[in-house]
């Protein structure tokens, strides 16, 4: 034996040495080691400090329930804090650091908390830190906060990638131990599509940690053969390093596969982790059973370990937990560990058995002390001895490791994630899985089966039954034969009386038995209260080792059965899952899809600056040489449209084609203004309400044919309007003969606006588009001179003579180029949404800055559009409620600064002159504001109480957020060309 590595044995590959570091110290292990087994082999038992008292802590388990051995693996942006050393696969070049200690693991200043522990009992913070009042925020909390947490998150950009995948199967087997493997074999041979998921990097579960033999071969060989057979079956998928973390509705399981967390230099071609959503017709929970710690004085001393973990370290990793090992047990499992270690030449100091009688076989020559308890432990950073008590006599037994075993609890976590609580079994002295129907059944030791042969046959039987249920025929093979069967029995022992020092229940959160007593004393005896008051079970292990003992202790103190105490709620995730894995590829620029207009290329060519608008990237303005700020560009674009002509991409507006004999009737019910008699070849502005009478969206409705309408929506509401129309057509008025489809992506649509718009357009359009032939609000299907079919609309969002031209998306860029070319002699410019916004603001036209979901048509000055003569339209009935028609509602007005140099910004509120700011005095708010290059000063649209009666009044525009208050005059919201002379030119 070198260090604690046994001279032979184990499933590690002794020919492959791996170098790694722990707190900077270079160490070596073997391929097949976990970090924990390699640390143990190197005599590095002390691996962490506890949360509250900073007590030295050692490795306790050999699996995912580990509360103590949490380390940070990797460095910089590749750091993984709080990684359990017991499941971390060792690789060459691994760097691990201990956590929650300063300045070092061996000497930690925080350990002073232990001395203060009488003051730091459960819930102490609720009773203190209140005096004087200001001290909590300034002194106490910053102090407490500094002590928070264990590992450190670097919060740097993660260099790894992640992905998600769906999988479908007849049978999902969670866990590849004896029961799981046999179930998978049985189902796989019968032809079911089977997925086997196991969190370990090597499949086999407890078969890898036992000296038993199956069908004449060592259990680990049996496991390897089973895995090999499963691998060869095309209908079976084996997912190792894959933790099933959640069970969701419809028998869908969430699982995370650690694809390359076990390599020093991850390949950029592979993801780091992959989340699976597995849809399973049936699932078997073959998750095994968890050994229970014993709650005795000093049970957190490094060197005190689960007996089963000791067996695993010895059998699987060839590592002894100590050189002189004692066992403290309330069942046969402790003897099994003693035999396993003794067989490998490890000295067994004693077996301390809490039971008075037992038939279990101790190794030859090993002292067995029955009816005895461990009441204290000696040593500081490594166990040196245990104090046992028997019949009132104490004895010190020297040892450097202590294996403890308090019985077993089936791992039923997943089965309890959807509301059903685990059920107490008096026979098994454990909480077992509730009956959650046929979709998910426990099997093997997760089902309370204690023997290996029982687990194997349970796997066969359950899988055969499922195969039959699903119409497959399983071969009637009997389960393999276990040659030297270990037996298993235990007495439940929740708390070991007589503790001479703290007896910990939750190691990580430093909850000891007295804390539970205090909780009960203070009225927190309900299991959920006890958990929340003491924090028992709330650490990173979620109480995998501590919860059941806490229940037992509470039951004992309350004098009831554990059944009456019950458990706390099991919730996802079975073990913690990274943000990255769950987010998959949806991050950064890929967090949401990007939509680009068919004219995006045209805008790029013209030098556009783009802005995100929902999913869209829209051209915002088109800077030219010499322009210093965006305002320079926008002012130029606006003035050019007003004086000459401009081209704006409006393709992002929602576009919907509506067909059918009832199309007119349908639209008439959708919009609050009349649509029934809209003539063919005409467009109309339309206003849609929600059923509660407030404005939902606006747009244009064009009638292309008797039974063909074309509807536009705002960019933002294109999706919701489409959904709303579908709802109305399908759920409200299914008898109407109407069909519609979105054509937003099918059309490139451009606005050509300005006094010279017609002159430009006429060059590429066949046919007469003079005002006489094609007056305002005309619509026509046309053919361009180039032969492209198009639609032409005489509509305007700028107040100028304007057309909107729609061409099939693929022709968009070419047609836009053509228009720019044709417009060159007329000084055409490209203009973006910023200029569009100023143009509409000058005309008092509205967007969703105004229609904020709380505005009625009348608020917006559009009350005349409400066609109350119509029998019905969406929103009609509720729009007449008192609150929607009250005279003091806020109404749309214009604002102009009294001092023309002053700026106004959207979001400001409005006060009467001479009044103090208060919610009561609040008169309204500014919805849109900007600089009007035409007028040469700022203008704004605002909603003002009874605003239309207040034109001419001076008000204060209150923008405290920007420390600005100016006086403005209330005016009509149309600032430019109120007669619409330009529009109708």
């Amino acid at each position: 034996m070198t260090g604690y590595r046994l001279s032979s044995g184990g499933l590690v590959d002794r020919s492959k040495t791996l170098s790694f570091t722990f707190d900077g110290r270079p160490l070596r292990g073997f391929a097949g080691d976990t970090l924990a087994s390699a640390l143990l082999a190197n005599d590095q038992l002390l691996v962490g400090r506890s949360f509250k008292y900073h007590r030295p802590r050692g490795i306790v388990s050999a699996g995912p329930s580990e509360p103590n051995a949490l380390v940070t693996i990797g460095s910089g942006a590749r750091s993984d804090a709080n990684t359990k050393a017991t499941v971390a696969e060792l690789y060459g070049g691994l760097t691990a650091k201990s956590q929650n200690r300063w300045p070092s693991l061996g000497f930690d200043v925080g350990a002073v908390n232990g001395a203060l522990s009488p003051f730091l009992g459960a819930g102490f913070y609720y009773k203190t830190f209140m005096w004087p009042k200001q001290f909590w925020e300034r002194v106490y909390e910053p102090f407490i906060r500094r002590a928070a947490g264990l590992g450190r998150a670097v919060l740097e950009r993660d260099p790894e990638s992640y992905e998600k995948s769906w999988a479908f199967c007849d049978l999902l087997v969670v866990g590849a131990g004896p029961a799981g493997l046999m179930a998978a074999l049985t189902a796989g041979r019968a032809g079911l599509r089977v997925i086997v998921a196991d969190e370990d990097f090597r499949l086999g579960g407890s078969l890898l940690s036992t000296s038993e033999t199956i069908d004449g071969v060592p259990a680990s060989v049996f496991a390897d053969r089973a895995v090999a057979e499963l691998q060869a079956l095309p209908n079976v998928t084996l997912l190792s390093r894959t933790t099933v973390f959640g069970w969701y509705d419809d028998n869908v399981f969430g699982a995370v596969e650690r694809v390359q967390k076990h390599v020093a230099e991850p390949s950029s071609k592979l993801v780091s982790e992959r989340v699976w959503r597995i849809v399973a017709k049936r699932a078997l929970l073959a998750t095994g059973a968890e050994e229970r710690p014993l709650v005795f004085g000093g049970n957190d001393r490094p060197g005190v370990m689960m007996a089963g973990a000791m067996t695993t370290y010895a059998e699987r990793y060839g590592v002894s937990a100590g050189k002189q090992v004692a066992i403290f047990t309330s069942g046969s499992a402790g003897y099994r560990t003693a035999r396993a270690l003794a067989a490998k030449g490890v000295t067994i100091a004693a077996i301390v058995d809490a039971r008075a009688e037992a038939v279990d076989q101790a190794p030859d020559g090993v002292r067995v002390i029955r009816s005895a308890s461990v009441v204290d432990t000696k040593g500081r950073q490594r166990l040196k001895g245990i104090v046992i008590e028997r019949s009132g006599f104490e004895e010190l037994i020297a040892c450097d490791a202590l294996g403890m075993s308090g019985g077993f609890s089936p791992v039923v976590h997943l089965a309890c994630q959807r509301g059903a609580k685990p059920v107490w079994s008096e026979e098994l002295k454990a909480f077992i899985a509730p009956d959650v129907g046929g979709g998910l059944r426990p099997v093997g030791s997760a089902n309370g089966v204690h023997t290996l042969s029982g687990c194997l046959s349970d796997g066969v039987d359950k899988a055969a039954k499922i195969a039959a249920d699903l119409g497959f025929r399983a071969a009637s093979d009997s389960a393999p034969v276990v040659d030297r069967e270990e037996t298993s029995s235990f007495t439940a022992l929740w708390y070991v009386p007589g503790a001479k020092s703290k007896a910990f229940v939750d190691f990580q959160n430093d909850v000891h038995a007295k804390d539970l007593g205090l909780a009960l004393r203070e009225g927190f005896g309900h299991v959920e209260h006890a958990k929340r008051y003491t924090t028992n079970g709330m650490a990173t292990d979620q109480g995998k080792l501590s919860n059941i003992n806490a229940v037992g202790i509470l039951a004992g103190m309350r004098g009831v059965s554990p059944a009456d105490v019950g458990t706390t709620t099991f919730r996802p995730f079975y073990t913690p899952v990274s943000f990255g894995a769950l987010a998959g590829t949806a991050r950064d620029e890929h967090a949401a899809p990007a939509r680009k207009s068919p004219l995006h290329g045209w805008a790029m060519k013209n030098g556009a600056t783009f802005v995100e608008a929902g999913l869209w990237h829209r051209s915002a303005w088109f800077p030219r040489a010499g322009e210093k700020t965006w305002r320079d560009s926008v002012d130029r674009e606006v003035l050019n449209v007003r004086a000459n002509v401009g081209l704006c991409d409006v393709s992002t507006l929602g576009k919907i084609e509506v067909f059918g004999p009832d199309a007119a009737e349908f639209l008439n019910r959708l919009y609050c203004n009349p649509m029934l008699k809209l003539p063919v070849g005409k467009a109309r502005y339309g206003l849609m309400l929600r059923e509660d009478g407030f404005v939902f969206d606006d747009g244009t409705v064009s009638r292309l044919d008797e039974a063909h309408f074309f509807v536009t929506t705002t960019t933002a509401m294109a999706g919701p309007v489409m959904a709303h129309m579908e709802y109305c057509a399908q759920a409200l008025w299914p008898a109407l003969e109407v069909r519609f489809t979105s054509s937003t992506d099918q059309w490139a649509q451009m606005a050509i606006a300005g006094p010279k718009a017609r002159a430009v357009l006429q060059q590429i359009v066949d046919g007469d588009i003079s005002d006489g032939a094609f007056p305002f609000l005309s619509v026509r299907k046309i053919v361009l001179k180039s032969g492209v079919s198009a639609r032409l609309f005489r509509i305007s969002f700028s107040g100028e003579l304007a057309f909107e031209l729609a061409v099939p998306a693929g022709y968009g860029e070419a047609v836009a180029d053509q228009i720019m070319e044709a417009g060159r002699p007329h000084d055409i410019c490209a203009y973006g949404v910023e200029a569009l916004n100023v143009l509409r603001l000058e005309k008092g036209l509205l967007t969703h800055a105004e229609f904020d979901g709380r505005v009625t048509p009348d608020d917006a000055g559009l009350g005349r559009m409400l066609s109350m003569q119509k029998t019905d339209f969406i929103g009609k009935r509720l729009s007449t409620r008192y609150g929607l028609t009250a005279a003091d509602r806020m109404q749309l007005v214009g604002l102009k600064p009294v001092d023309a140099d002053k700026d106004m910004r959207a979001g400001a509120h409005i006060l009467k002159e001479g009044t103090k700011p208060s919610t009561l005095n609040d008169q309204g708010w500014v919805s849109s504001a900007g600089f009007s290059p035409v007028l040469g000063h700022a203008i704004a649209l605002a909603f003002l109480k009874s605003g239309r009666e207040r034109y001419g009044e001076k008000v204060v525009v209150f923008d405290k957020l920007r420390d600005q208050e100016i006086v403005a005059e209330v005016c009509d919201p149309v600032f430019v060309d109120p007669q619409n002379a330009k529009l109708k030119a």
Binding site: D249, D250, R277, Y727
Partner: protein, 92 residues
């Protein structure tokens, strides 16, 4: 239910393809019905713990509104029908 919905048109599809609008149990009143009927239609919900009918929209699929009858406590789904069929059945 919260993972998969069986669309009568598209088959079993994941939840994220759907948008949920809400209660489907109450029909839209006639134009001349009482203020109370309209108020209740727009604002009041039975909100049962148990069996309920809800409009789900297969946004990323067939774009049909469906009426999903299901249990709000267990999330068990009893039936999924097309909303138009559901509405026509109700008026018949």
């Amino acid at each position: 239910m919260a993972s998969l919905i069986t669309c009568p048109h598209c088959g079993v599809r994941p939840k994220e393809e759907f948008a949920i609008r809400g209660d489907a149990s109450r029909g839209r009143p006639e134009p001349m019905d009482s203020d109370e009927a309209w108020h209740d239609y727009v604002y009041v919900r039975a909100n049962p713990r148990g069996r309920t009918q809800e409009h789900w929209h297969h946004v990323a699929g067939c774009r049909r509104f469906l009426v999903v009858e299901r249990d709000t406590a267990t999330h068990e789904v009893y039936s999924v029908v097309d909303a138009a069929e559901f509405a026509l059945r109700a008026t018949r």
